[in-house]
């Protein structure tokens, strides 16, 4: 039981880490964790992890994040001694009291807590010096340290005496090393959550077509997780919208108690038509990467729409809906490029493709359809096919154009963005993942 406070502090640190990583944890959950812990054997790693998981993490899309944090956070001890001269430390421990490490640990924690956010800004070395200064005020000539250390005089003085004794050079060094190791480990641990979050923010905000292959691999997980979150959010909101005809069954049943006189009326929740989506992707080289991501995201959201038809084009419009049905989006996109009919000619030709779409696929357009065009509108000075584009606009509910180019680059060189923009419901600059998910989110509000 006497170890309890230490464990508690450690858990609070861990909860902070999870919160940094954007997992929502309320006081209720913390409370139930602490009522749960005495019931299980915390030395059993699986039970311990599950107790934490089951009480703290309520959104299953957060589970991978939790696992990452948990593994990093509770895999400490071994790492601590990685960069340390073990023999020096061993002799140190042998020569001093057996609780030295624990006491030092406590002191370090208090020290770091007292610094607050400063911890993240200082390097480990700086922190170490600050700590030693606090602990051994006399050695730096400064007067008095923080009050917490005064109350721990016993350890401070034993420390001091050790430091002042001659011939104990290597011992002193051992302590320094030990402290350094502990400090940097603590520092990394405290920042696990923040780093995960920072990494996510970085990836989500990065220009999609600037992502490196490794980052793309990382992104794939992220897209999946975010897609799921987005999906959950949208479907929750959809349920809330009400108003509709009278619910005869329920009204009758309730009003039986008034002898069948309808005092209270009940309304049906209006079924919201799930939107139909037609996506036209420019997959030419300039926007290839971008389209890949867009397709990946819409694919993971497919169940929210009643119907999704996907088209890809460079200079020819090709329907790829079936491809997506058969294989995972990544492979579908790759196999698309092996289609000769498709890769014929180089450089996008928007006009020709819109003409083709109107001629061959206009059955895809209804009053419920939202059309998304993804591309940079760089038409290589071809005929823009405005007539066809207008026709598309007339026949669908709304027509959005997502343009990966920055706004000031629209109409630059061979781009004819504003020419098309005039006939769109909206042309939007979308070039990172956050914008993209925001857009999709909004798509459902407007309907």
């Amino acid at each position: 039981m006497e170890k309890q406070p230490y464990i508690n502090r450690k858990l609070f640190d861990f909860i902070e880490v999870l919160r940094d990583a954007d997992i929502v944890i309320s006081a209720d959950e913390v409370l139930s964790l602490f009522t749960a812990l005495p019931e299980i054997d915390i030395a059993d790693k699986v039970s311990f992890r599950q107790a934490l998981k089951t009480t703290l993490v309520k959104d299953y899309t957060d589970i991978p994040v939790f696992d990452k944090c948990f593994n990093e956070f509770f895999s400490g001890r071994e790492k601590l001694f990685d960069n340390i001269d073990v023999s020096a430390v061993a002799s140190l421990i042998a020569n001093s009291n057996p609780h030295l490490i624990e006491e030092l640990n406590d002191l370090l924690d208090q020290f770091l807590d007292s610094l607050g956010d400063l911890v993240m800004e200082r390097s480990s070395e700086e922190l170490l010096n600050m700590f030693l200064e606090e602990l051994l005020p006399s050695s730096s000539g400064g007067a008095g340290g923080m009050s917490i250390f005064k109350s721990n005089n016993s350890i401070a003085s034993s420390f001091q005496s050790m430091a002042e004794e001659d011939g104990q050079e290597n011992l002193r060094q051992g302590i320094d090393e030990l402290l350094r190791g502990m400090l940097s480990l603590k520092k990394t641990k405290r920042s696990i959550g923040k780093e995960l979050k920072n990494r996510e923010d970085y990836l989500l905000n990065r220009y999609i077509y600037q992502l490196t292959p490794d980052e793309i691999k990382e992104m794939r997980e992220l897209v999946k997780r975010f897609g799921q979150k987005l999906k959950n959010r949208i479907s929750l909101r959809k349920k809330r919208v009400k108003h509709g005809g009278i619910d005869i069954k329920r009204t009758f049943r309730t009003n039986l108690q008034y002898g069948g006189v309808p005092f209270k009326l009940f309304y049906k929740n209006k079924k919201i038509d799930r939107p139909q989506l037609v996506i036209m992707c420019d997959v030419s080289r300039s926007v290839n990467q971008y389209s890949r991501f867009m397709l990946l995201l819409t694919y993971s959201l497919q169940s929210l729409f009643s119907k999704v038809r996907t088209f890809a084009f460079i200079s020819n419009m090709v329907e790829i809906t079936d491809l997506f049905r058969e294989m995972d989006p990544e492979r579908a996109i790759n196999s698309m490029f092996s289609d000769e009919n498709f890769t014929y000619g180089w450089g996008s030709n928007y006009g020709r493709c819109f003409n083709q779409f109107v001629a061959e696929y206009s059955d895809a357009l209804t009053r419920k359809t939202s059309v998304l065009v993804l591309g940079d509108a760089r038409n290589n000075d071809n005929d823009p096919g405005i007539e066809s584009f207008k026709k598309i606009k007339e026949r669908c509910r709304n027509l959005f154009w997502l343009n990966p180019d920055k706004k000031h680059l629209w109409d630059w060189s061979d781009s004819i963005a504003s020419l098309y923009g005039a006939y769109c419901t909206e042309m939007k600059e979308v070039n990172n993942f956050l914008d993209l998910s925001e857009f999709i989110d909004k798509l459902f509000v407007d309907i």
Partner: protein, 302 residues
């Protein structure tokens, strides 16, 4: 009550439910802390089965409530039996007029009738629905609220009251409160997100497809006729199939079906030919079967 995590595993195994340590820990904690559990995971991993097995392992009653769109309080909590009330009023007409008969003034009649009103709004005319049943029962029970994600958010809000206080107020009668809280299990296939308030009140358990070892154990327990060799082949094949991009991944129950079918057909060995012929036991979509065939070299190794 289970005494420890290990005992939870053991007791559940006696009910032929193989629980991983994660599952057992959560179940054990939920029972100890008297908290509801929200179980999520893909279809067919045994979420409902878990509730059933806990009930029979603890030897207590299982009260099940299936959620669906439009489910409301009257279906979940209680309902007055109007027809019976009406019928009784008709039958008791004579008796009523007897009581009222001596009264000359209208207000006198009303107050007399009011005195007898309680008769008609008593528990005799109440149909208890699952939630009320689990609360009025004075012994422990398992209340399974199945597929909560299919219900409306109004219903979810209503559940909050029940889950936090375990009490139900019926205006005409009063408040029912229970001393013995039922053990509540909510299952969800994540068709929609649950509200934060509900999640906060529950422990959360995510059940994923089991590991190969665990699934082998499950098959061994449920279909003991299939030998060790066949069991291993079946489970390993299913695990390889799950890695494909399928419309619907084979669940545990489908693994079991497949193993059973192979036993009935008298096979002792799962060679590629037999496997492809019986693939429709685990894959329910034509496209999925085609896909599995395409990858048959990587999937059917034996």
């Amino acid at each position: 009550m289970f005494a420890s995590v290990e005992e939870t595993i053991k007791k559940l195994e006696e009910q032929k439910y193989i629980a991983s340590k994660e599952i057992a820990t959560t179940v054990y904690l939920a029972l100890k802390l008297e908290k509801p559990v929200l179980v999520e995971g893909p279809a067919g991993v045994g979420k409902t089965e878990l509730a059933k097995c806990i009930a029979s392992a603890l030897n207590i009653e299982l009260i099940r409530m299936q959620c669906y769109e439009g489910l409301d309080e009257s279906k979940a909590l209680y309902e007055w039996e109007y027809a019976k009330q009406l019928l009784y009023t008709q039958i008791l007409k004579d008796k009523l007029s007897e009581i009222m008969g001596s009264e000359s003034s209208l207000s006198g009649a009303v107050s007399k009738l009011t005195a007898a009103e309680d008769v008609f709004f008593s528990e005799k005319f109440l149909i208890p629905r699952p939630i009320l049943k689990s609360i009025t029962k004075n012994e422990r029970s398992v209340l399974l609220i199945d597929e909560i994600d299919k219900s409306d958010s109004e219903f979810e809000a209503f559940l909050l009251e029940v889950l936090s206080d375990f009490q139900v107020t019926i205006p005409e009668i009063g408040t029912f409160k229970t001393d013995v809280k039922p053990f509540v299990i909510l299952t969800s296939n994540s068709a929609r997100e649950m509200s934060d308030a509900l999640k906060r009140r529950c422990l959360h358990l995510y059940i994923d497809y089991p590991t190969i070892e665990l699934e082998e154990k499950i098959v061994g327990l449920k279909v003991p006729e299939s030998g060790e060799r066949l069991t291993r082949q079946v489970v390993e094949t299913v695990h390889r199939i799950r890695k494909l991009q399928l419309k619907k991944e084979p669940s545990i129950s489908e693994t079991l079906d497949w193993a059973k079918a192979l036993v009935i057909l008298g096979y002792e060995d799962l060679d590629p030919k037999i496997a492809t012929e019986t693939l429709n036991f685990i894959l329910k979509y034509e496209k999925d079967i085609e896909l599995a065939m395409k990858h048959s070299k990587d999937i059917f190794l034996n």
